[in-house]
Symmetry: C2
Subunit: 279 residues, 2 copies
Amino acid sequence: MNIGIVGLGLIGGSLALDFKAQGHQVFGVSRREDTCRQAIARGVVADASSHMNLMAAAEVVFICTPIAAIVPTVTQLIPHLAPTAVVTDVGSVKAPIVQSVSQLWANFVGGHPMSGTAEQGLAAAQPNLFVGNPYVLTPTTSTPDTAIQLVEALVRSLKSQIFFCRPEDHDRAVAWISHLPVMVSASLISACLSESDQTVLELAQSLASSGFRDSSRVGGGNPELGVMMAQHNRSAVLQSLQAYRHCLDHLISAIEQENWQALTTQFQQTQQARPKFVQ
Amino acid sequence: MNIGIVGLGLIGGSLALDFKAQGHQVFGVSRREDTCRQAIARGVVADASSHMNLMAAAEVVFICTPIAAIVPTVTQLIPHLAPTAVVTDVGSVKAPIVQSVSQLWANFVGGHPMSGTAEQGLAAAQPNLFVGNPYVLTPTTSTPDTAIQLVEALVRSLKSQIFFCRPEDHDRAVAWISHLPVMVSASLISACLSESDQTVLELAQSLASSGFRDSSRVGGGNPELGVMMAQHNRSAVLQSLQAYRHCLDHLISAIEQENWQALTTQFQQTQQARPKFVQ
């Protein structure tokens, strides 16, 4: 099959490596000539270009740009596409993208491979990145079956764990387990920084161990990623933050009132619930 | 040296193992006869008993009971102590303990070894548990120098990293980096459980990965431990929770107002600050 990849970063490059290894013809587009040269040199793709016309022969195109560039990229891509070509994306938020892109190109299936590494860019691309990890597909009632089947078959060939859901449900689910943790964790670090007594702050820095390390990890990550989550999944992130604030207030109030039974009950519930999220 | 350990759990048992290996005479007291028998059988102590009179020959006694039992235990211990005996404890909150115990026994040095495992009890005790980990000592201006020097020398022999500070500063520091993360992390799990749409909740449970795993770890731990932190370090925990809530509100407000510059600045600060806590 002729497969196009637009955006040759970690995800695009890793998809290209896997599809090429399966014997597909893989073509890549990157804005940067330098990335195109590297992709060809590393054997990630059969050919690469900064021009969308390389996508003319593609039967399916994966849009692997940063999330803000997905809709503009599809707009640029459309004049070069074969009429039967299927388009899919790898954006980490789905409802706004699916809504916009579906209107531009009917043969579109929203996707979100939930694989990542700390590293970014083509240099970090690796084979088998998607094996065993969730890959969410968000077709709508108007998505053609043929398009869904084609994308599903390719994703299955990556040995991903496929989930089908509505774009809105995806966005609410990732708000809970991916975006809210970033906001909660960043606020933890911010709160510690508010300590005005330098002796206490330095002592806290010296004594912090695995509990703080784990709790603060996603809040101390790439600022652009955190802002992207809030910008593109704003409504679901705000809903999850309001619910979180309510739970936090409940906990603070239990401690203020020395209602240790209520606090015990809350901790028992969280202890019992966590394994359902982290099997 | 004759060393007494009252409370033969993870910490007491591990201290006993290390001191015995150094050639000290180590005696243990546990409320449970069964624990005493196990401690002798495993060679953790030279002798063990459920009676405090075993502590009569001790030059120093480590109180290693759960935090709520420390003051009552010292009260029971005192009639059996030699007048020159030094007492220290391993409680994770210091100000209320130091204040109470200092009035009962002048030769007292508050301590907090910050070593732990997921396991509890004598069976989990292990040699070298304290190597390289922080061990906080909180003498006051009225603590005799001889008592401080004796405890410091023993703690140093464990190859711990020793920190000296005021009991109140210890409690504020651990509120930030140990107790607040538990409250923040538990509230994260509680918030996710508030999702009323079962489809979204199950999807969130399926999609949760390392970010959620790390952020939720300490909030899904032992409920008794979380309640103990709130009960015994209530004032510092509430102060840190109020500061946290303020930072969270700031973040929510930035997202509500789409003030992406403010949000970027906050995430840049947290990214920059985290390495100071997790060297």
